[in-house]
């Protein structure tokens, strides 16, 4: 039963991914993107990583997609259908994407890693408490640095997109 | 006595001259040159008492490269040539002020430092470092102080630099290969490394390319004439008298003993190339109008002669080659300096505009004529002893090689005397031609004395070089 759910969810993810990529209108692709992120969150849930799925939804779908849609609206790109690349480059794109798929899967199959049995840890390692504990103990320094990173990104974004007030 | 001191003297000299003002630059440089000469003579005395000495300190640990120098008969003689010629080279333009002299003299001293390094080093990589280092100063000397139009001068200097540099890259490849194969770059390890035949052929060719460009040997000589012509007098003398000798010395020291089988195998090819060079230089000189370019081709012919001596792989060939290296070093100084003397007075380098100098400058005529006699190897000159021995060395290889080589005797006489006639003889020219000043006479007298003394009594030189040449011959014929 679980595998069926997994396959459905995987199908949704891939379909929405493809649709985001192939749709003509950027807004459509944004919406498919949101669907895709929800499916990924679903995957997290299935893996019992609730904290992750929630964070995923908040950060990706909540923040990034909204920002994307906002920029789309700002640059009112929604109505005109964007010009399509030359056929040759589109074919080249698909060919190279497929080539990459084949390569990655081939590499994985050829590498044939040994997969041992799953050891079930007694405590629930994915619970929020444990993750919070790990973040604030082992990874305190990177945690602080992410805050610095975010501040820098904010300032950068503001500065870059500020309209120079020509004299 | 530590050999490295001479390197220190020259390096220190180069730095000090750089920082001394333009007025004193030439005097300071001359002081250091004479100090270096004195030291090398003390090395000579020490060599005679104790024989070959060497000096080595650890330089790089990972690829174990030791900064090792060695003074045996051959390198001592080359060192003497270098350090005795340096003061004379400086003497040629000490009275002739140029712009920013201190840089020029410091470059000259630096060049001499690099060349002394080449002659002394007995570790392949150290040798290669000094080999490349010597290229840099001569490039700047030619570009900054050369004559002729700036763009052309830069172009020929650049051709020379890249041409020589490209050649020596092949040598670097060979050195690296040898390090990989032999495990150490010390001279005696490389000599005793028994490389396979094919390896030897490839290494021989790699070395040959680098040295053929430097000497220069026939197909690789295109850079030579224009650089000799465009360089200032000190640059031409450094190039002609010393730098070509670096190539020849390296053939004897680094190429033949390391790859004896290949040397014997490719002997006919290399001999033919050098002999073509001899005849080519002699014949093309007939049609040169620029005097310095004329002497450049004459030097090409003589240097080809030495190369033929070296590549004959006989003991006489080698001994003759080393003698002729020394003789040509002093002889070519006289020739190029005469061109400079004429250029300073008549302000034109073209033979067609010269003539009748003999009647207005007797002292210069005697000096110039003696230098011509030395260059066409009249007996009782040092050049003759060299050429005589080389011809016998080449004769032992095959008579067929001796005849074209011997042809350079009368071809040399042909183009030299023809030039002498157009430059010096004929009726009096209208322009004034003041005779030699003291400095100029001193240059001629010094080189003439050396050429005559060793022309008559060349035994001391032969005694110094014969032990190390015997040893090299044992390697070459193994």
């Amino acid at each position: 039963m679980i595998t069926i759910i997994f396959y459905i969810l995987a199908a949704i993810t891939l379909a929405s991914g493809l649709l985001t990529v192939l749709s003509k209108n950027p807004v459509h692709s944004a919406i498919y993107m949101i669907v895709c992120f929800f499916s990924i969150a679903g995957h997290f849930l299935m893996l019992n990583a609730q904290f992750l799925s929630v964070i995923h939804i908040i950060v990706y779908t909540g923040a990034i997609m909204i920002l994307l849609l906002f920029t789309l609206m700002l640059m009112n790109l929604n109505e005109q259908h964007e010009p399509v690349k030359k056929v040759a480059s589109r074919i080249a794109a698909t060919v190279s994407a497929c080539l990459m798929v084949v390569l990655l899967l081939g590499a994985f199959l050829k590498a044939t890693p040994t997969i041992e049995a799953y050891k079930a840890a007694e405590i629930d390692f994915q619970s929020v408490k444990v993750i919070g504990d790990v973040i604030l103990n082992e990874y305190l320094v990177p945690f602080e640095f992410t805050s610095v990173l975010l501040i820098a990104a904010m300032i950068g974004a503001v500065l870059v997109s500020k309209r120079e007030n020509k004299a | 006595m530590n050999i490295a001191i001479i390197l220190l003297i020259l390096l220190a000299g180069s730095l000090v001259t750089y920082f001394s003002g333009n007025r004193f630059a030439s005097k300071v440089a001359m002081l250091f040159a004479i100090a270096a000469a004195a030291f090398s003579i003390s090395l000579l005395l020490e060599y005679q008492s104790t024989g070959a000495t060497s000096y080595s300190i650890e330089w790089i640990s990972k690829p174990n490269i030791a900064f090792s120098l060695k003074v045996d008969g051959l390198s001592l003689v080359m060192l003497l040539l270098n350090s005795l010629l340096l003061p004379i080279i400086m003497l040629t333009s000490i009275s002739h002020t140029v712009k920013s002299e201190r840089i020029l003299y410091s470059l000259v001293l630096f060049m001499s430092f690099a060349m002394t390094g080449v002659f002394l080093s007995s570790n392949a990589l150290v040798y290669y470092v000094f080999w490349e280092m010597s290229l840099i100063p001569i490039y700047f000397i030619v570009v900054l102080w050369g004559n002729g139009e700036r763009a052309k001068r830069r172009r020929s200097a650049m051709t020379f630099f890249i041409y020589t540099f490209a050649g020596s890259l092949f040598m670097l490849a060979a050195i690296i290969y040898m390090y990989v194969k032999v495990g150490s770059l010390e001279l005696h390890d490389i000599y005793n490394a028994n490389l396979s035949h094919t390896e030897q052929i490839w290494i021989f060719l790699a070395f040959f390319l680098a040295y053929a460009i430097k000497i220069p040997v026939f197909p690789f000589h295109t850079w030579q004439a224009s650089v000799y012509q465009k360089a200032p007098i000190m640059g031409t003398l450094l190039l002609g008298a010393l730098m070509s000798k670096m190539g020849l010395y390296s053939v004897i020291r680094w190429q033949l003993p390391v790859t004896p089988y290949a040397a014997h195998e490719l002997r006919s090819l290399v001999l033919i190339l050098s002999i073509i060079g001899v005849l080519y230089g002699a014949i093309i000189a007939l049609r040169q109008d620029n005097l310095k370019r004329f002497f450049a081709y004459a030097s090409l012919s003589h240097v080809g002669f030495i190369a033929a001596g070296v590549y004959a792989l006989t003991y006489d060939g080698l001994q003759g080659a080393v003698i002729l290296i020394l003789a040509h070093g002093f002889g070519i100084i006289g020739l190029f300096f005469s061109a400079e003397v004429i250029h300073r007075r008549l302000k034109t380098p073209l033979i067609s505009k010269m003539g009748g100098i003999k009647s207005s400058a007797p002292k210069f005529t005697i000096a110039f004529f003696f230098m011509i006699l030395a260059s066409i190897a009249i007996p009782l000159t040092f050049n003759f002893v060299g050429e005589f021995t080389i011809m016998y060395g080449v004769y032992q290889v095959h008579l067929g090689y001796l005849l074209p080589l011997g042809a350079s005797m009368f071809l040399g006489a042909f183009f030299m005397l023809r030039m002498y006639q157009y430059v010096m003889l004929g009726d009096k020219i209208n322009r004034s031609f003041p005779d030699l000043t003291i400095n100029e006479t001193l240059v001629f007298v010094l080189s003439a004395v050396v050429l005559i003394f060793f022309g008559i009594y060349s035994k001391p030189i032969v005694d110094i070089i014969s032990p190390s040449l015997q040893e090299l011959m044992t390697y070459i014929n193994r």
Binding site: S89, A92, A93, S96, A97, L99, M100, L103, L104, G106, A107, K110 | T159, Y163, P219, H221, T222, W223, Y280, I283, I284, L286, R287, Q288, T314, Y315, D316, G356, K358, S359, L373, I378, P379, V385, F388, T389, M391, Y392, Y395, Q396, L399, L402, L403, G406, A407, M409, F410, A413, F414, L417, Q421, M424, L425, G426, K428, I456, Y457, S458, K459, V462
Partner: protein, 628 residues
């Protein structure tokens, strides 16, 4: 004491050279001449001392100075030897040298760089002494090239005229071609016998006798003969001698008549024990000698310049000497060298004093009737002409007759050539005599009253030489009374054939050679005295005379065959080969530049393309890592 005196022999001329060269200008006009003559006379006195000593003791003297050049196989030490051969040569080199120095004091009086002239003359004597007294081939080579150098300096003495410079350059280059042959010969001998000293060579020759050696030995002797050809102006390499007349006359007398040109004969006589081993090379020498004698004589007949006539006669007489050497009669050749030195020097000096009197005019068509004005010159010239034509009892008759006898006994064909040559010699010598001294004066008025007999300092050498030319024959009379033969016997390994009594055919031969000389005289007398013919001007000569007058155009042939190709080749090298080489070298530069253009197109700024390459790159890395 021994070495000191012999060294002095060398030092005198060297000192004379150095003094005159460096200090000459300050010594005024006459002092250089005196110093030079004193130096050479000094050497002559020393030679005389040793000559007398060796005649009595017959004991050669060796002097070892120091080691000069050392090879792997042998050493060349700076050694001198005074034995019979070198002393006889020294006698007439320094003797005639001194006379000529004395003569040139008068002849060169007006010249402004007279000091340089005497310094070169002394340098020449110095090198000639080294050549003659050398104990091995390397030292002989020093003298060999040294005299070539001095002949260059002296021929081109009046350097203002480019024709003289060309003549000097030509002489030097042709000599050096010969020297190349000489060197190859020296190397071959050194290579075979592992030594180049004469006495050890003589020893080695007797010991090594395997066949292989003779093949190489033949080559060695042939090359040595090429060297002799260059120096003594034989057939292929003789054209420099007539042009060498551009030098002052004393130079022609000393170098191109008496001393330098005999160097070739000296060398072959010195190495007679080697040349005897290669009979075919000897035959070759004889043939070359005879042909040169005839060829040069035929040109001499038509020349109008008095010095050119004497130059060709020298080439012809040298041919006769080489004929004698080729037939193995070294002592006859040496005898002819001595007598030739006497009368040829006298002839040259005589023509010198004629030219001196005529104010530099050398063309015989402009002379005539000088008999009364220059009596001493005429007398000495007349004696020498008699001597050279072979009229008894003069010296020339005895030496030429010996050659005729040797030629007759060995090779009739060559004897015929020699006879013809001596007939022509008699004819053109008397022609020269009559044209210059008899009949009316054909010169310009201004020359006429300028005519005067040469000063005593010039006529004294003439007289001495004329006397020597007459009594010279005594040193080697036919029919066994030859002092010279047994004097030279220790030198010649084959020894001198015992002089048999007066055989019948010898009388007949003497008769024939005298007859030839008289016929020559008669034809000349008839032509130039009875019919008083005067050779036409240059442009009107026709037919064979024109060809012979222009030296069979040999010079022009040499020029186009040998000299022009070098210039053509030089042009070819300069314009074509150099450009090709440059093109190749700079070609690499342009090649790289050309290659870079397509590469530049790839970076055209389209980000899509970069991304595409990015993905392709990633894929290839993964592929390589996992699948290769």
């Amino acid at each position: 004491m021994e070495t000191g005196l012999i060294l002095l022999l060398l030092i005198f001329p060297l000192a004379g050279f150095l003094i005159n060269l460096f200090v000459g200008k300050k010594l005024g006009k006459t002092l250089p001449g005196l110093i030079a003559t004193a130096a050479v006379t000094g050497s002559f006195v020393i030679t005389l001392i040793y000559f007398i000593k060796i005649v009595s003791t017959g004991q050669a003297i060796h002097v070892h100075l120091f080691e000069w050049v050392s090879f792997s196989d042998f050493k060349a030490n700076f050694e001198l030897v005074l034995d019979q051969l070198s002393l006889i040569w020294l006698m007439f080199v320094t003797g005639i040298g001194a006379l000529i120095h004395l003569y040139s004091i008068g002849y060169m009086k007006g010249d402004e760089n007279i000091d340089r002239f005497f310094s070169y003359l002394n340098l020449f004597i110095f090198f000639m002494i080294i050549l003659v007294t050398a104990n091995n081939l390397a030292i002989m080579f020093i003298g060999w090239e040294g005299v070539g150098l001095c002949s260059y300096l002296l021929i081109g003495f009046w350097y203002k005229n480019h024709k003289f410079n060309d003549a000097a350059k030509k002489a030097f280059i042709m000599n050096r071609i010969g020297d190349l042959g000489f060197l190859t010969g020296v190397f071959t001998l050194g290579y075979i016998f592992k030594t180049i000293d004469f006495d050890s060579l003589k020893l080695a020759v007797t010991t090594t006798s395997n066949l292989e050696v003779s093949g190489l030995l033949g080559l060695g002797t042939l090359c040595l003969f090429i060297g002799a050809m260059g120096k003594s102006a034989q057939i292929p390499l003789y054209t420099w001698l007539p042009d060498a007349m551009a030098g002052p006359t004393p130079v022609s007398a000393l170098i191109h008549a008496a001393t330098m040109v005999t160097a070739g004969i000296f060398m072959i006589t010195r190495l007679n024990f080697i040349f005897n081993l290669t009979p075919d090379v000897q035959l070759f020498i004889a043939i070359i000698g005879a042909v040169t004698a005839l060829f040069a004589a035929s040109i001499g007949i038509f020349q109008t310049d008095i010095k050119k006539v004497l130059a060709y006669s020298t080439v012809s007489q040298l041919g006769l000497m080489f004929l004698a050497i080729g037939l193995g009669a070294y002592h006859v050749a040496v005898f002819h060298v001595i007598t030739h030195a006497f009368f040829k020097a006298c002839l040259f000096l005589g023509s010198g004093s004629v030219i001196h009197a005529m104010g530099g005019e050398q063309d015989m068509r402009k002379m005539g009737g000088l008999r009364k004005v220059l009596p001493i010159t005429f007398a000495t010239f007349f004696i020498s002409t008699l001597s050279i034509s072979g009229i008894p009892p003069f010296a020339g008759f005895f030496s030429k007759d010996e050659i005729m006898v040797v030629a007759f006994e060995n090779n009739i064909g060559l004897w015929v050539l020699a006879a013809l040559a001596s007939l022509m010699t008699a004819f053109y010598m008397f022609r020269a005599l009559f044209l210059t001294f008899n009949k009316g004066f054909r010169g310009t008025e201004e020359q006429k009253h300028h005519l005067h007999e040469s000063p005593f300092v010039m006529t004294l050498p003439l007289i001495i030489l004329a006397v020597l030319a007459t009594i010279g024959g005594l040193i080697s009379l036919p029919f066994g009374y030859s002092w010279l033969n047994e004097y030279l016997s220790p030198i010649l390994v084959a020894g001198v054939p015992a002089e048999h009594g007066a055989t019948s055919h010898q009388f007949m031969l003497i008769g024939i050679s005298v007859l030839i000389a008289l016929i020559g005289l008669a034809i000349a007398y008839y032509q130039y005295i009875v019919k008083s013919v005067v050779p036409e001007e240059d442009d009107k000569i026709t037919g064979f005379a024109k060809v012979a007058y222009n030296k069979y155009y040999i010079d022009e042939i040499y020029d186009t065959l040998f000299v022009k190709p070098f210039y053509v080749l030089a042009n070819f090298f300069k314009n074509i080969v150099e450009n090709i080489m440059n093109a190749i070298v700079f070609g690499f530069g342009y090649l790289i530049a050309a290659l870079s253009i397509p590469l530049r197109a790839i970076q055209n700024g389209s980000i899509g393309l970069y991304l595409f390459f990015f993905v392709i790159g990633f894929c290839s890395i993964v592929a390589y890592l996992f699948f290769v």
